[in-house]
């Protein structure tokens, strides 16, 4: 059954240095299924025209594919309306959009923004830029030593000056599902809106933005098997309506004159310039793949087996420290350090064994400081990875460690 899934991903059959590729860097970017490649090809070959404006046939085809993707995303995350789905170039662009535009409208000098200690730089730096510009204050929700967010400290961190809380659904380093529903509840009780960075969350967890009740949810397409340069900002209409445009240009305007320009309605108001009309339609087959994989019992069984196997192997090895340990919240993403072995050496040796994994700070320097490390190794698994690959990884890691000792 898993073979059927793997066959959908031609890139997985690659050989590197004469060895079969074992791709364990899925948290950085996922591979694309053939259906995504085909949709892209189809768009370029038979539907390549700029969307929305022109009246010719191809423009119609392209617009339909682009807007169809919006409907698909809306259904996927159960957004109340399609106007609340804004396409961006990725999660980073979406956070920047909110930080800039929401910040412009709602954040004043002395106001506060809260992020967590476990955020990706993309959910830190846009807020820092905003805080510099507005002379507002960035506050940090800490984590416990086991990697869990210190949610019990959140309420006391919120003040009448807190204007927004931006928090990841799943940290790209710790691989733990954060209690975002509880976070939203705590924040809303104090009237504070919440942005959820779903770059990892959307891949591993079902997301219903109405049930979650978050104010913004952002994610990238490329980690979700769609084309690079695609991304989504979901925002509640009340906020998107009240926020000024982020960028000016084509598409986002209603009428332009030197005296007064008026803006297009949602979502075009936030989609200035030529959009990624070749890429966005790939979200449709990508989402279809996610839904298939989630409904596929053998994929789910294999994923659970991989998570348990790697977790057990790493945690029982005294030379190894895993960061993000509570098993109940763990996704198959493992960041770890090996005593007396540098992460770069291990990654370099494992690379030559055909294993692609991430080493370094993983775009989360503040978290590395909090954990007291200069970098880590990270193995992140996707639905096409097998238990056999996990076993090969553990065996290869053992070999690599021995080479260094």
């Amino acid at each position: 059954m898993l073979e059927q899934i793997r066959q959908q991903f031609p890139a997985l059959s690659a050989q590197v240095y004469g060895k079969p590729l074992v791709y364990l860097d899925n948290a950085a970017t996922a591979m694309r299924p053939q259906s995504v490649v085909d949709t892209w090809t189809q768009s370029v070959l038979a539907g390549n025209a700029n969307i929305h404006r022109a009246v010719h046939y191809l423009a119609g085809v392209a617009t339909e594919a682009y807007e169809g993707a919006r409907d698909c995303v809306q259904a996927f995350i159960n957004a109340p309306s399609r106007e609340e789905i804004v396409f961006t170039s990725g999660a980073t662009a979406a956070v920047n959009l909110v930080a800039s535009s929401f910040g412009e409208a709602f954040i004043q000098e002395g106001d506060e923004v809260v992020v967590s200690a476990a955020e990706h730089h993309s959910n830190i730096v846009p807020w820092q830029l905003l805080c510099e510009r507005k002379k507002s204050v960035l506050k940090v929700l800490d984590i416990h030593d086991d990697g869990e967010l210190a949610v019990e400290q959140l309420e006391s961190l919120l003040s009448p000056r807190t204007k927004i809380v931006a928090i990841s659904h799943i940290s790209n380093v710790l691989g733990l599902v954060n209690p975002v529903e509880e976070i939203v509840r705590i924040c809303h009780a104090k009237g504070v809106p919440v942005l959820v960075d779903g770059a990892q969350g959307i891949v591993h967890e079902p997301v219903d933005v109405q049930a979650l009740d978050c104010d913004f949810y952002v994610f990238s397409g490329h980690k979700l098997y769609a084309a690079t340069g695609t991304g989504v900002l979901y925002g509640k209409r009340k906020w998107l309506d009240a926020m000024p445009p982020y960028m000016g240009g084509g598409e986002m305007i209603k009428s332009v004159s030197f005296a007064k320009t008026t803006y297009a309605p949602l979502p075009e108001k936030f989609e200035a310039g030529t959009q990624n009309f070749n890429g966005a339609p790939t979200l449709v087959p990508a989402i279809r793949f996610v839904q298939e994989a989630r409904a596929n019992a053998s994929v789910q069984k294999e994923q659970a087996a991989i998570t348990e196997y790697i977790y057990t192997k790493l945690i029982e090895d005294e030379r190894i420290t895993i960061y993000g340990t509570p098993f109940a919240h763990k996704i198959p993403l493992f960041s770890f350090a090996v005593k007396n072995a540098h992460h770069e050496d291990l990654a370099l040796i494992l690379d030559k064994m055909g294993i692609a994994l991430r080493s370094g700070q993983m775009c989360a320097e503040p978290l590395m400081d909090r954990l007291g490390v200069t970098g880590l190794l990270r193995a992140s698994f996707g639905p096409y990875n097998t238990l056999a690959e996990a076993e090969y990884f553990v065996k290869s890691l053992e070999k690599a460690i021995n080479m260094l000792m």
């Binding site: 240095y17 540098h342 992460h343 770069e344 050496d345 370099l348 040796i349 690379d351 030559k352 064994m353 080493s359 370094g360 200069t374 970098g375 080479m403 260094l404």
Partner: protein, 133 residues
Amino acid sequence: MSLEEKKQQVVEDFSVYDEWLDKYEYLIELGKGLEAFPEEKKTEERLIKGCQSRVWLDSEERDGRLYFTADSDAIITKGIISLLISVYSGCTKQEIAADDFGFVAEIGLKDNLSPTRANGLVSMIERIKEIAG
């Protein structure tokens, strides 16, 4: 040994290994054999940027020749810097400045390192050139 002879020696030493893992094994041995580098010398000025790991390079000039010492927190990188300084220690500034560092490409080190890693190597070479320049 002249600079040319030293470079030739390195190329020969490397050529006996077909497999990349064996080349790494060799670099690891070189790294382990590198002379201890005093902790107090691990300063910001001696740190080389552009590596995932940290590399410190120090030099002194005696009788018109440069002598290098180095360290890294990663062992393969330590092996690479060890290789570089074993070749260039004892050379005059003029010799180093005139050298094209082509032997690094010849042993395949540059191509077979990941780009970030190759950046580290480039930074190490740049620093040696800078000291000589």
